[in-house]
C-alpha cells in the first residue's frame, strides 16, 4: 500500500543550526502538507503546498521556515535557524487531489530535538 515516507526518523540539532526534513509523498498525490506536534499537544498545521507553491500557511510558519519540492518526488521543510521551541514531531502529509473533502495521509514523522 502506498505511503508517505519521512527521513530522518529522528534529528538532533544545536540551536541556531539549519535543518532539512525530507518527505516522499504518495506518488499520484497533488497536495502536500507539513504539520507538527509538540509533545503532549495537538497536531498543528504549518503549511500546504500545491502546484509548486505555498497555498496556505499558519502563523507558526514564519520566515525561518521554507518548503520546497526540488524534484518530482521529494518535499522538504527547512528550518533556517532552529530554536529550542522548534522541538517537536514534524509530520508530512499528502492528498490525492484538490477537492473540498480530500483525505490527508500522514507519514511516520521526524522527531526534531533542538539542544
Amino acid at each position: 500500500e502506498p505511503e508517505v515516507t519521512q527521513t530522518p526518523s529522528h534529528q538532533v540539532t544545536q540551536m541556531g543550526q539549519e535543518v532539512i526534513l525530507r518527505c516522499v509523498p504518495i506518488s499520484n498525490h497533488l497536495y502536500f502538507y507539513w504539520y507538527r506536534q509538540i509533545l503532549g499537544q495537538k497536531v498543528e498545521f504549518l503549511v500546504s503546498f500545491y502546484n509548486n507553491e505555498i497555498s496556505e500557511k499558519s502563523e507558526i510558519f514564519d520566515d525561518q521556515f521554507s518548503v520546497e519540492r526540488p524534484d518530482g518526488s521529494n518535499f522538504t521543510l527547512k528550518i533556517r535557524s532552529t530554536k529550542l521551541e522548534d522541538s517537536a514531531m514534524y509530520f508530512c502529509a499528502s492528498s490525492p487531489r484538490r477537492r473540498r473533502h480530500t483525505e490527508a495521509f500522514f507519514g511516520q514523522g521526524t522527531r526534531l530535538t533542538v539542544v
Binding site: M89, F91, H101, E103, A104
Partner: protein
Amino acid sequence: TQLLEQSPQFLSIQEGENLTVYCNSSSVFSSLQWYRQEPGEGPVLLVTVVTGGEVKKLKRLTFQFGDARKDSSLHITAAQPGDTGLYLCAGMTQGGSEKLVFGKGTKLTVNP
C-alpha cells in the same frame, strides 16, 4: 479560531465493553476525519465523514457526523486490546482552506 474538543480525554475499559468518544465544536466543518495515532508515529486515517447526519461503519467502529456538521462521534462495539491507542478527530474548515484542525485526542486503553 476553530477548535475541536474531544471527550473524554482518557478512557480505560475492559475488553468486550462498548464505548463512545465525542468530538465537538462551535464551528461548522466541510468534512471531518478520524485518525488513530500510536506513540511516536503519525496519524493513520480511519474514516472521513462529509454529509451532515452521515454514519459510516468500519468493522466494530461506527462514526457519525452531526446534522449541523459541528460534531462527531466514534462508537466502538466489543472493544479489544488491539483498539488501544489515541483517537484524533480533525476537521477541514470551510471557505476554501485546505488545513485540518485537530482535537487533542482521546487516549483509549482496553484491558484484557
